[in-house]
Symmetry: D3
């Protein structure tokens, strides 16, 4: 699916974590997926990739990876929130489970975008059940209409990268209801951000993301065996 | 120069205004350049272009053009500020004349990015004299270092689209001074934003940018003769 | 009507634009009315007026006029929002069409008053139909009560200078409903602001509103023929 | 002095407190001057005055007086901060003693104007010694220039109503230094606010300033003997 | 009741004011209770107490007392809002009468906690009638559920120190409704804050709370007779 | 050292991580210390402890632990920032290395305390070298004085839990320089917060910190072997 969004000339590789939760929908899930993400991110840089995307709406591991790598590291939430912020007065995010709502709020405030955030809603469907597209699309439509009517959202953001391939259909459904509003797909947004940064040679500031100091690290078995 | 930044397959046309100031560096300049910009933007849509860029750091005409057009309208300031916001804790903008500083501050606050803005500085060189690259680059370097040291900027943004072709050189100069920070070129940022929006099919929300109501408009001669 | 609000000794002249839209209710309308407003503002200063009011709730042309003139320039939205902010915890604005809502939000945030703004609502009546006072007053009453009950407004502001002569009647109607709240008329507020500034000799800071630099301006026919 | 600022037709009476500190320059001073101010404010309303001004830059007693009275109650700080906010991007307040700085900051944040506040500085002269105009004006000039250069103030506010009759002279001195900026006199600003509110029939919202509930009040001797 | 909350070794004395209102539920009540509170606070310090609590949710007298005393002065609202802010994304306060709502909002914004404040609601019961625990608890439960459902509160704060001994029962009632949320009792919170500050030797900064300057104070009879 | 701060009756156990970095001074360090912290936190709850403290100024693992545990989880940064916010207008944090500054800024903004934060400074000493108390105290004193003079801090916070036993000495040194300001020790602050919450029976809201959903977790070796 990534490939279908890419500009000509962009090569995308998708890797899954060896260790971590089956899906990310809590602070706990984030915490235990980050170590292996960092490992995979370092591998990607070593293999010559130009950028790394943390393709999860919690942006897990983006900040530490920016310290470790010398290529741009892009988060799906950060990219889609910034695109959304330019498309209208306020955006709402609709995510999978209510568990993730505070996490996403904390991202918005860290990204300095809380004034542009109308609300965060959830369809109350676990990530692993998002494959049922009919159920997902109906639930998203309902929450998005509520976001527009009750929370004054002008732009919508899919708040989980597992909500694949539904953005355009939702735009059409909302238009039929009288709301001609953009629906931002976070996977697509992250890819575009990464392509843009690589294209114009930008990456994270080294004053924000200083390389971690050298020192003894009694690391976990995972790190001890897999990192170089 | 636009072409050198573009992804393969992107065709860029640059048009200058028939009416307006020789450069834009005050609210007055903005006010008198917008009518013709809107005319040109409508022409571009009629000719089949996929997006329109207002390539000036005041983003003149972006909001009314979003009402008038059905294709994405992108501003150089908005695009570069959003990219900059993702690259570090805070960014500073360095513009040409002090006259533009309040205007750019007002943009940052409207875009919801004031908490990410470290400062706005100027090199105090009129736009029409920015062609002297040596003078420009030295002045920019000096203000950028002050922005880092005194205003705690972690990312720099060139605050005038007339500051062409100096971003990479400034990154190198700043690195030599010990600051490995990104310098965002607004023209490049706007092009990337436009390409990204077109690529994933996003455009302005019609709840924010409603089409102007039909009604008698005793327009200025400019509009009376040129718009359809 | 202006005269009825004025302090003894104040002389008010009202001028209409030669070029521009029949009413201002979109960013596009603002853009095309500003050039002639600037022309008229300069004329007023040349004729010896002490202050200029942009009597439209979008405050069109206020910022560039402050650069061009040496007398105070006052906006109807800015004046009424500041009065409203002192009269209670939060104010709501009720404007004519939903098209203007984002524009007014952007003004509030630029004026630094967003934390005092409860909401912006509209009666969904085009400016040119505001003459039907019964329809207007009923619609305003309904939205104002909603603003108090749902948006926690403590003060109300008429969000269009075309809503003339209804403020006091609305105060009485709201009082009958149990809400003893002020309703700010923007025309009156702007006049009082202008009279106050002239009376105590205050005008715009020249650090914010620097005079536009001299330079070639290939202006539109409108400007070419009318400005000196 | 009040009379010299007043519009024709405005009658101003100035009353001093019978109980309270010799000057107000701490939270403690405010606390002990408010009871008698409330008494005097009630007397003024009973005598038929149209508005009451708390002519001290801490705005002592303004909020409780708004609950007790049915005529507008105006504070010197609130009025001058709101005028200042419209005259430029940011204002600085220069007050008498550093003791009052946090108090004034708390006012600015309550009035929703903290984003417009550049800084609060003090000349470090007790209120009772402000009569030495030469010393005062020189000290104010110095702090105002520092506010412009270091804190990016575009507008200045005299932060004590004891700083009488120096605003215009300071504007001239600052202009000679190259800064054409307004200096707001809080006494004048409060009078203009009061005149404006009375002129257009506005007063405090009764949702914000509800009348205090009836109940037994074992009041202090002061109140027991003097209030009706 | 204080004693039941105290750590072993803490001795708590409760004093009532000799002068002031029977309860505090308006700005006016606050204004007239502060002078005697300051007197009592100074007595407490003279008698060797380690800290003073202003046990009212308006925190009356906290700021001037901090200037006068050299021991920590703690407010019930400030303490409970800060505890609440750490327990979840946002808290709502439920107070006695609507009169106090703006007062509490002003505290939240002064304490820098407005972004953590979901809402302030009231049960519309005068403080002197809070003794009817059944009525109080039912009314609180209803408003707290509304705060959770409509205002997105995650934490609740009792907004009046007269709401004694109901926090734990409300936590249980809310849990039965499906909401496992903390309910903060302001008296308990203030005591814990005071004990903590004394235990680790912290008190108010003397840059914020400078001692009031020496000067003539023609004080009210109350002060004249009772303070040393 | 914890014991010396504790109230009578409080029993404190300190555990070190088996896996993780030798010190925490980067986002990377945080990421790799959290998994084992969560393990230890779960053990502590199983062993009957009443609260868990993450005694590091980055508050690593606090959010996921709040999801996993049913006892209060307290962070050293969150506790000390909230105490500091009540002691004066603004606080500055002085941490060990500049690497941690953005991390701490992100915490302040998430905790809703950014308006109370004057600045974050660092002594530029690695955590593992903080044992040299003379060097540490001198460096802290210097940065704290700069924070007061240049950043307008009124309260100081030690921004690393490795800065042990120096708070009181710094208060004395600053007092000698003319600044009577509190210096908050984060370890002490966290202990007091934990004791307070346990004492009055408060813990994290389950709307903010929902228990992580049950699902397959292919966890890292560390988790696979050590968690029950």
């Amino acid at each position: 699916m990534f490939a279908s969004y890419a500009f000509p000339g962009t090569q995308v590789s998708v890797t899954h974590l060896d260790y971590g939760p089956a899906s990310v929908e809590s602070e706990f899930d984030e915490a235990i997926c980050i170590p292996d993400f960092l490992h995979k991110a370092q591998q990607a840089e070593a293999e010559g990739y130009d950028a790394v995307i943390s393709n999860c709406f919690g942006d897990p591991g983006v900040k530490p990876a920016r310290e470790l790598l010398s290529i741009p590291v892009v988060g799906a939430a950060e990219s889609s929130m910034h695109f959304a912020a330019t498309l209208g007065q306020r955006f709402s995010v609709v995510t999978a489970l209510p568990n993730s709502v505070p996490m996403i709020e904390n991202l918005a405030v860290q990204y300095g975008l809380d004034r542009k955030l109308a609300s965060i809603r959830s369809v109350n469907i676990p990530v692993l059940q998002l494959g049922d597209k009919d159920r997902l699309t109906s639930a998203l439509q309902q929450e998005m209409i509520a976001a527009i009517r009750e929370d004054h959202a002008h732009v919508l953001v899919l708040g989980c990268t597992g909500m694949r391939g539904v953005a355009k259909q939702l735009e059409q459904r909302l238009k039929r209801e009288g709301y001609e509003v953009p629906v931002v797909d976070p996977t697509a947004a992250a890819l575009k951000f990464a392509e843009a940064l690589v294209s114009i040679g930008l990456k994270q500031s080294r004053i924000t993301a200083m390389p971690p100091p050298e020192k003894p690290r009694t690391e976990s078995p995972l790190f001890a065996t897999k990192r170089t």
